[in-house]
Symmetry: C2
Subunit: 344 residues, 2 copies
């Protein structure tokens, strides 16, 4: 880890610009409290102790009758209605997933079926865990730079549904995850809105948080352990420390490329894997709490949806206005992180 | 399916060009013959009947001691050596996977660890099954158009390793899949080499071929069926027919955008899920067999590696030379397909 080298930031070479047209969010119906989880799994804990330790009161979990594609449809419809854009105008869909409805085909194709379009819109899923939405935004502006007019990106997770398979949850992670899908429509703009983009990985932390479904899985017979549906976190402190450290490095790199200081940023939006991780990032970059927000207390870790959920909340609440400058970041348990500076 | 609408082709709006610098391939050591599979699973079949029906003689399967990241490392090293480019010069890595070593983090980060670089190169995985490599190539030229100098893309699969878990294989698919990883280095170029790109999805065929790992999985207790590691193909004929139909539509769209006819194409490279699927595509687009190639007979369905394996073979054998014009396509069981025209 000491030998890890952060790459230089590459200035964007873009002359065909884009901007955020709208955002949308879909949440499952079921609100699950800490007490619900304690009761269901007979965990030795109290609601108050869980809230004190993690900062979380409740989260949403998808029910057995809800699919990821249902949530995607709802988020897409809200997003498109807000921008007054029709699905058939969309050039491309990118979904950054944790688990989709199926492993293959891409769940973004399932969402197109739900939407009922007859046009064979290009669509695929990407994998970058909690940092995924920044990867997808970075992709969107590059697609528009090279010819697209409208790119729809989605991110999020339905880990709660996986909990239905899980009779012996890991008490370290069962309270953390919530379900949500966030959508963002990025469209062509004749003036520049996206100024800087920076993404890193750190393979020294590759093994710290993982889901063991894949060719490394070893079983001892015909059946497979249901833990392959769940995130295993070796060291939560590494997630905490890397998020804070990377937040500062990414902020410095973005600001040097942008040519401004932290005082030029109106809002800081990030992935909040816990209330303390959010606060630690703010402290590292020297940013006032009242110009940021964290929905962790009521939505939990929604993986790739954390950053866009917070962005959507700032927009819906009227705190973030057109013309404001945003630094948005997303951190993936140490293995992958990124950020952008844009004018909303 | 009758109501499905192919999108119009969008001309690339790119002024910062790229070209293919090199390719590389890694294959597992173990050669698995039809007879090996027949013996291992007590399948009622003969080697000759399997070869006659599918066109396959053998394939490679990863052993229990081989990981996807090992194959990625080998393919990357070959690719970078051929281009004489150092790993630390790479701006971004995109791996189009079926199953990686883990589900999360991205297996491309695991490959970076194997390569031993200390630089935190941006890297993520995408999901687009057999059509994935064309998605990744399309991505690479857009990254370079907007600022990157070197983008390394990888594609392929290690389904054979999953077969170690599989005590009751599906005789419809067990002979089909082989393991391989293909790599391609795309770099900045001052003259245009990539002329046209076209990608589609067809959600009407979303359910035809799938791997059931995900939130749609329903179990009846603590254990999970090992079939969640494997591709289930409802209707092989749909895979065959859609590949042939899409090959023609994609060829027509690409040629109209390129402003040429099929006679201007020196080589046709595609995904060959069977020898007959390869031949059917050639017939549909009216292209001579001797200007294409299919390695299906000895490598099987290597998912996202099929097209680049065939491209690499044409290059290694000296048949495809610098300056030749290539139409490259990849088809994903009906749900996703794409193609490009480029000068090698």
């Amino acid at each position: 880890m000491q030998n890890f080298i952060f790459p230089d930031i590459e200035p964007l070479k873009i002359s065909r610009y884009s901007r955020i047209l709208s955002t949308g969010v879909a949440l499952p119906r079921n609100v699950v409290t800490n007490q619900n989880i304690i009761d269901r799994y007979n965990i030795i804990a109290t609601d108050r102790a869980v809230e004190y330790a993690l900062g979380i009161k409740e989260r949403r979990w998808t029910g057995l009758d809800e699919k990821v594609e249902d949530l995607m449809e709802e988020a897409i419809n809200q997003c498109l209605e807000r921008a007054n854009v029709d699905i058939d105008s969309i050039d491309r869909i990118v979904f950054t997933k944790l688990a989709g409805d199926y492993h293959v085909p891409a769940t973004s194709i399932g969402a197109l079926r739900k939407l009922g379009t007859k046009k064979g819109i290009p669509a695929f899923d990407i994998f970058a865990a909690c940092s995924g939405f920044v990867h997808a935004m970075d992709l969107a502006i590059r697609y528009i730079a090279s010819g697209d007019d409208y790119v729809l990106i989605l991110g999020g997770s339905a880990m709660g549904k996986c909990c239905h398979y899980w009779n012996m949850p890991d008490p370290k992670t069962v309270f953390l995850f919530g379900d949500a899908i966030a959508a963002m429509l990025v469209g062509y703009s004749d003036v520049q809105h996206f100024f800087s983009s920076y993404i890193i990985t750190n393979h020294f932390l590759y093994d710290n948080a993982l889901i063991r479904y894949g060719t490394s899985y070893k079983n001892n017979g015909e059946n497979v352990d249901s833990s392959i549906f769940f995130m295993k976190i070796a060291d939560g402190n590494t997630v905490f420390q890397s998020s804070a450290q990377y937040a500062k490095v990414i902020s410095d790199k973005l600001l040097s490329d942008y040519g401004g200081s932290i005082d030029d940023i109106d809002h800081f939006v990030t992935s909040d894997q816990s209330t303390r991780i959010w606060e630690a990032q703010l402290k590292e970059i020297g940013f006032p709490k009242e110009k940021s927000t964290s929905l962790f207390y009521k939505h939990g870790n929604t993986v790739a949806a954390m950053s866009p959920l917070n962005l959507n909340h700032l927009i819906e609440s009227g705190r973030l206005k057109r013309g404001d400058v945003v630094m948005m970041q997303a951190h993936g348990a140490g293995a992958s992180s990124g950020g952008m500076i844009f004018k909303y």
